[in-house]
């Protein structure tokens, strides 16, 4: 058992491009769920709209990535409006069902063979980030020899990504200490009380949905920049659920919650994955092949993830930083 290798890859993933993506997605969910109490289960849909926007801006419309970024943000905002109109006046679980369904509608439509001319079907879209690659100021890889290293491209993605995270955290911090943010929190606590104070709850919820969706769009941009490709499998329903786990580990309704959550989440997931893959590898594996083969070993981290999400929500719903009293979330 090579614990140094496991530790190295866990650190590499904890700060790597994937952690950035889930951090941004969780920041969006933090606005939705942590601050406003909106149960958006379709964050993957927002990410997908944005990810495909920058891909298609280059491949279909032959414009720059920047046009794709603008279009992606607009489409994410539009999606939030489209989801909010039928559901925000209804009970919380309706929003959950509709968002999860919409994300799946978008995914299956984009993945359809009928549109493969535009979106590449199941294979997705590639060859669109040359502009981003050319702007890479780094030339060598970075890391601690023998432990971990990031390629020059990874470092470039991480620089952009963590800058976006810092910026997003600042925006969330400023928004939530403003009077507007206090209204959001009181909507989460007691919607009717806010309504009785003459606030337009529906409008506030809609604004929160749009802003959180835009953070989701940033996560979507990072997906396509990191992978240099987009495909329907990148935006499966589980992506949203993983982002929720990230948020809940760090602590909902805390500005830094998603950041800490993403780092811990990817550290643990990678370490677990590395442990079980090593425990089943080789001629004389630690865990006998009859109990677990390498394919099954790759599932262990998700089994633990599901279990962890349940236990977290049951025993420490406020995560690491959250305040339990503040997060007395419940459906009304």
């Amino acid at each position: 058992m090579d614990f140094v290798a496991i530790l190295g890859s866990a650190i590499q993933q904890a700060f790597g491009p994937t952690a950035v993506i889930y951090c941004l997605a969780a920041i969006g969910l933090n606005v939705h769920f942590g601050y406003t109490g909106l149960l958006n289960f379709g964050q993957a849909g927002f990410m997908m709209v944005a990810g495909y926007s920058i891909a298609c801006a280059v491949t279909i419309f032959a414009t720059s990535l920047w046009v794709g970024v603008v279009v992606g943000l607009l489409l994410a905002a539009l999606l939030a409006l489209a989801l909010g109109v039928p559901t925000l006046r209804l009970r919380a679980d309706y929003l959950a069902i509709v968002t999860i369904a919409s994300a799946e509608i978008i995914r299956q439509t984009v993945a359809a063979a009928s549109f493969s001319e535009y979106f590449g079907g199941q294979d997705g879209v590639t060859d669109f980030i040359s502009g981003f690659r050319d702007a890479n100021p780094y030339s060598g890889s970075v890391g601690i020899p023998g432990l971990f290293r990031w390629s020059a491209f990874d470092i470039w993605v991480m620089t952009v990504g963590w800058l976006l995270v810092a910026l997003s955290c600042l925006v969330v911090f400023l928004l939530m200490r403003s009077p507007w943010g206090r209204v959001l929190k009181s909507i989460r606590e007691d919607e009717n009380a806010v309504r009785s104070l003459g606030k337009n709850v529906y409008a506030y919820k809609m604004q929160a949905l749009v802003i959180g969706g835009i953070f989701g769009a940033l996560a979507g941009f990072m997906v396509s920049l990191r992978s240099a490709a987009v495909g329907p499998s990148f935006f499966a329903t589980d992506v949203t659920f993983f982002a929720y786990t990230v948020l809940l580990i760090g602590g909902a309704a805390r500005v830094m919650g998603p950041v800490v959550g993403a780092i811990i989440f990817w550290f643990l997931i990678t370490a677990l994955g590395g442990f079980f893959s090593q425990a089943t590898a080789g001629a004389d594996p630690l865990i006998p092949e009859a109990i677990m083969d390498p394919n099954q070993a790759s599932l262990m981290r998700f089994i633990f993830l599901g279990l962890g999400l349940m236990l977290l929500m049951i025993f420490r719903p406020q995560g690491i930083f959250g305040d339990r009293r503040e997060l007395a979330i419940d459906a009304r």
């Binding site: 109490g37 149960l39 109109v85 039928p86 559901t87 006046r89 209804l90 009970r91 919380a92 679980d93 309706y94 959950a96 069902i97 509709v98 999860i100 369904a101 919409s102 799946e104 509608i105 299956q108 439509t109 993945a111 359809a112 063979a113 009928s114 329903t237 589980d238 659920f241 929720y244 786990t245 809940l248 394919n295 099954q296 599932l299 998700f302 089994i303 993830l305 599901g306 279990l307 962890g308 999400l309 349940m310 236990l311 977290l312 929500m313 049951i314 719903p317 007395a328 979330i329 419940d330 459906a331 009304r332």
Partner: protein, 448 residues
């Protein structure tokens, strides 16, 4: 093998793509040819799939044309039903080109036709210089008027069978929601659980037989029903009841159910693998002709079982003491408790019943179409659509909603490609929330 493919592959999918008939060589002898002949051959075997084993069909004319429709070559099937037609010219120049292989329907024996009339012409893209094989499954000819109406009827039959299973799953979800307020995102895994349990029974060594009749899969389905019921009780007793006692909020419980869903789904993949599974019996059966449509006996059996179970459950809810108590709890838990109803006991019964229904639906889905570890997760959104359409928490609503959604998904394939059928159902879900959020049979009340 061809028979299995012809049965299982949806009509639309077989129309354009050449069938993967890697096995064709093992069952049919392609005519010998000169070693030096480097031409690319299009080969295939014509077999009458109504016979078991399938019998060769000789003397059928096959033509090969290029993409513009100019005829290039022709051949006739030999006494083995096999044919081979060479693409004329330099093999290199044929690479990347499309060719059309067609069967002359006039030359088919009297009373035979192609299983799928769209197969008469099949387009083939030549990408390598290896020979390519095509399949023309031969069986009963479709009636002359195999137009929109027959197709719609055929799809309705398939939709009804699917709906009846969807309704069982939806009824469980709706009852659990009605009594506990929980929107259970792990309900799909209860469906998969049933299918996996039936598979486990099926994979036991040996067969279960009564008087020489192999009933392994039937026993598997029954075991799945019973074990799922126990699993539902376990779900409630080990997880949800303690959470209710702690006063955990509904939203927190929804997120717990997502964790449970991820956990169970990966455990299912751990034990059953990622590949698609079929039970040892009934996976390939020949359909019978009923009027203008084709149905398989297993579809009829599954539909009858499902309808009987649905009727039984609704009768139980309507007429028995426990059933009435269940409806009372769904209506108002606090008031029911005040009138002396043991609410926890009712909820426990609902979990047992709901999980048993979902597990039975999963096992029967496994019988009708096979399954993989995420079949329940894929169906979950359709179950939600059905329940929301009918009215969350209502009993008849779940069933009505499931039959509408189930037949709707099948019938939409008349107008749009099959890959969009789920999309259509989910759009219905959103439209319903816009127009009538309480659902078809729900009571209009302020919900938000």
């Amino acid at each position: 093998m061809i028979a299995v493919l012809a049965l299982l592959a949806p009509a639309a999918a077989t129309a354009a793509a050449p069938l993967p008939t890697a096995d064709a060589g093992s069952v049919c002898q392609v005519p010998e040819r000169d070693e030096a002949d480097a031409s690319i051959y299009i080969t295939g075997c014509l077999r009458d799939l109504r016979e078991d084993p399938p019998t060769p069909v000789p003397g059928v004319a096959i033509t090969l044309s290029d993409a513009e429709g100019n005829e290039l070559a022709a051949a006739e099937s030999d006494e083995n039903g096999a044919f081979a037609v060479a693409i004329p010219g330099d093999p290199i120049s044929a690479l990347g080109q499309q060719f059309v292989v067609a069967v002359d329907e006039e030359s088919l024996p009297e009373g035979s036709g192609l299983r799928n009339p769209d197969d008469v012409e099949q387009t083939i893209t030549v990408n390598t210089d290896a020979d390519q094989s095509v399949a023309f499954p031969i069986g009963d000819p479709l009636p002359e008027s195999a137009g929109g109406l027959t197709l719609a009827l055929q799809l309705t039959v398939g939709g009804l069978v699917f709906s009846s299973l969807l309704a069982m799953a939806a009824l469980g979800l709706s009852m659990i929601f009605g009594t506990t307020g929980l929107t259970n995102f792990s309900h799909g895994e209860l469906i998969t659980f049933g299918a996996v349990v039936a598979l486990a029974v099926d994979r036991l060594p040996g067969q279960i037989a009564i008087g020489g009749l192999n009933i392994t899969v039937i026993v598997g389905v029954l075991v799945a029903f019973v074990v799922s019921a126990a699993f539902g009780w376990l779900n409630d007793a080990a997880l949800w009841r303690p959470l209710r006692k702690r006063g955990t909020g509904i939203i927190a419980m929804m997120i717990v159910s997502i964790g449970l869903s991820i956990f169970l789904r990966n455990v299912f993949q751990y034990v059953a693998g990622a590949q698609s599974q079929n039970y040892s019996q009934y996976s390939a059966v020949t359909p019978i002709q009923v009027g203008p449509v084709q149905v398989t006996l297993k579809e009829i059996a599954v539909f009858l079982i499902a309808v009987a179970v649905l009727l039984g459950t609704t009768a139980f809810l309507k007429y028995t003491r426990t059933g009435k108590a269940t409806r009372a709890v769904a209506d108002n838990p606090a008031l029911s408790a005040a009138t002396g109803i043991n609410v926890e006991r009712v909820i426990s019964i609902v979990w047992i019943g709901g999980a048993a229904l979902a597990g039975l639906a999963g096992a029967l889905l496994g019988v009708t179409q096979g399954f993989d570890y995420q079949i329940g997760f894929k169906l979950l959104l359709l179950v939600f659509a059905a329940v929301v359409l009918g009215g969350l928490g209502t009993i008849w609503g779940a069933i009505v909603g499931a039959f509408i959604i189930g037949t709707f998904t099948e019938l939409t394939t008349l107008f749009v490609p099959a890959e969009f059928k789920f999309v259509g159902a989910l759009l219905v879900l959103i439209l319903v929330l816009l127009v009538r959020p309480q659902g078809l049979l729900g009571r209009a009340q302020r919900v938000g």
